[in-house]
């Protein structure tokens, strides 16, 4: 079954083929469940003019925020970009384009792309600046806007465990956008905390079946916490 062995051992191989101007879809919500080493590898490769699709753009110095340092991102498609001073400056200076997209619409754009659905109607954003210029159709008397799927040249995904066939499970709320991103890449790369043998993962509890996954790499992760809120005993 060598044909199904998707494991690579070097990050350079994991992101091989990434070129200037490509679209990269990244999983993660805030700093939770982000493919931090794959992002580092994109920085190392120095590719430019990327369109990056992700709910957020990391923070200064961590996550997708590091791709701003060498101005590698041309267009950011995200729902919320508030945690990043460098992002703000590049946006105000006109060096960076941002396409704000409602969170649920963003998730559905990825899901639709992976499922072969080129566009869908949603009520989200109708009557707001997000709906301007988009096709409107009424269903049962309610107006909806047409939103198009987003396909990535690459999808970069962070998961908990995978086997070499690319079957994947995520841990807790680090799942978020990751399974959707995983379906939407022409090349989908998953980095994981643990590599396990085929059969160790319960087939009924796989979150992302291996058919969506092209490359798997084991990494080690900082897993930075954005807002550490605790209660005292």
């Amino acid at each position: 079954m060598a044909g199904f062995n998707k494991v690579v051992t070097r990050y350079a191989d994991a992101m091989a083929g990434l070129e200037d101007g490509m679209t990269v879809i990244a999983g993660g919500f805030g700093l939770c469940g982000i493919p931090e080493n794959l992002i580092q590898e994109i920085k190392r490769r120095g590719v430019k003019d990327l369109t990056v699709v992700s709910n957020n753009c990391g923070v200064d110095g961590f996550g997708l925020g590091i791709l701003l340092e060498d101005r590698q991102i041309k267009t950011m498609i995200a729902s919320y970009v508030g945690e990043n001073a460098l992002f703000e400056r590049q946006l105000l200076d006109g060096e960076l384009e941002v396409i704000l997209t409602p969170q649920g619409t963003l998730a559905e754009k990825m899901r639709a792309a992976g499922a072969g659905i080129p566009a869908f109607f949603t009520a989200t954003g109708y009557g707001t600046p997000i709906g301007e210029g988009k096709e409107v159709r009424e269903f049962d008397g309610r107006p909806y806007i047409l939103e198009e799927a987003i396909k990535g040249d690459f999808a970069i995904v962070k998961a908990w465990k995978a086997d070499r066939y690319g079957n994947v499970v995520y841990r807790h709320t680090a799942r978020n956008f990751n399974p959707l991103a995983a379906t939407a890449g022409k090349i989908t790369v998953v980095e994981v905390e643990e590599l396990v043998e085929p059969g160790e993962l319960d087939p009924a509890e796989i979150h992302t079946p291996g058919i969506y996954v092209d490359r798997v790499i084991k990494g080690s992760f900082e897993k930075r916490i954005e807002k550490r809120t605790v209660r005292s005993r």
Binding site: F29, G30, L31, C32, G33, N55, A78, S79, Y80, V81, G82, E88, L91, L92, L100, P102, Q103, G104, T105, L106, A107, E108, M110, R111, T122, A123, T124, G125, Y126, G127, T128, P129, I130, W160, R171, H172, T173, A174, R175, N176, F177, N178, P179, L180, H207, K223, R224, I225, E226, K227, R228, T229, V230, R231, S232, R233
Partner: protein, 220 residues
């Protein structure tokens, strides 16, 4: 006296029905969780992908993979479910969440809401707010009745770019609890010690005042 943030949360919590699925936005809505009456079972939905959000963790329970929609570390209750973002917004858009509580800059007599963008200021994004207001049947909007400069936030027509059109039915402010229907705000309750006249003075949109406007009942 105008309600404090805590009292606003307390009043909203009285609207929560036993056995309901509730999404609480950031700010005052988050505080509502502290006032859910004993004996009422509620499942809190956090739109990053958690149904059954629990309390904040103790220091030794903190887990980077366990956060809420505000990116704060949280716990899950027994019986919680975790899912991806598309599933989460399927619940929201599909109208499966029983009650959504969120803040706003402005609302108007037609149920429009503006909460995400002030032109001229940097726009950080709408996050999940547009999906939440488009999807929920039952929304309570929490906000101060007027700005610090005394300008009403309850308008004939929202002036700021909208988050959603025609989707808000109930508003709790620091002065009043109101229902939006038939192109007007209908005054349901007033904050303890706040006069109908003051509410009228600070409501720019059409306000319908019934003969009797009860004071809110808040526990001490």
């Amino acid at each position: 006296m105008a309600l404090t943030r805590e009292q606003m949360a307390q009043r909203v919590a009285q609207e929560i029905q036993d056995g309901s699925y509730v999404n609480l936005g950031i700010g005052i809505p988050t505080l509502v969780a502290n006032y859910i009456p004993d004996g009422i079972d509620v499942m809190l939905q956090s739109e990053n992908g958690l149904l059954g959000m629990g309390r904040y963790p103790y220091d030794d329970e903190v887990d980077a993979d366990m956060i809420n929609a505000g990116k704060e570390t949280v716990t899950a209750i027994d019986g919680a479910a975790i899912f991806d973002s598309a599933e989460s917004f399927a619940m929201i858009r599909g109208g499966h969440v029983d009650l959504t509580v969120l803040g706003a800059f402005e609302v108007d007599v037609n149920g429009n809401i503006a909460s995400w963008m002030i032109p001229g200021k940097l726009v950080k994004g709408m996050g999940g707010a547009m999906d939440l207001v488009a999807g929920a049947e039952n929304i309570i909007c929490t906000m101060t009745h007027a700005s610090k400069h005394g300008e009403s936030k309850l308008l004939s027509q929202c002036e700021l770019p909208l988050t959603g059109a025609g989707c808000i039915r109930r508003v709790l402010t620091d002065l009043a609890f109101l229902e939006i229907k038939d192109g007007a705000f209908h005054l349901l309750e007033r904050a303890p010690g706040v006069s109908v006249e003051e509410i009228q003075r600070l409501t720019a949109g059409k306000l319908i005042v019934p003969d009797n406007v009860p004071e809110m009942q808040l526990d001490a």
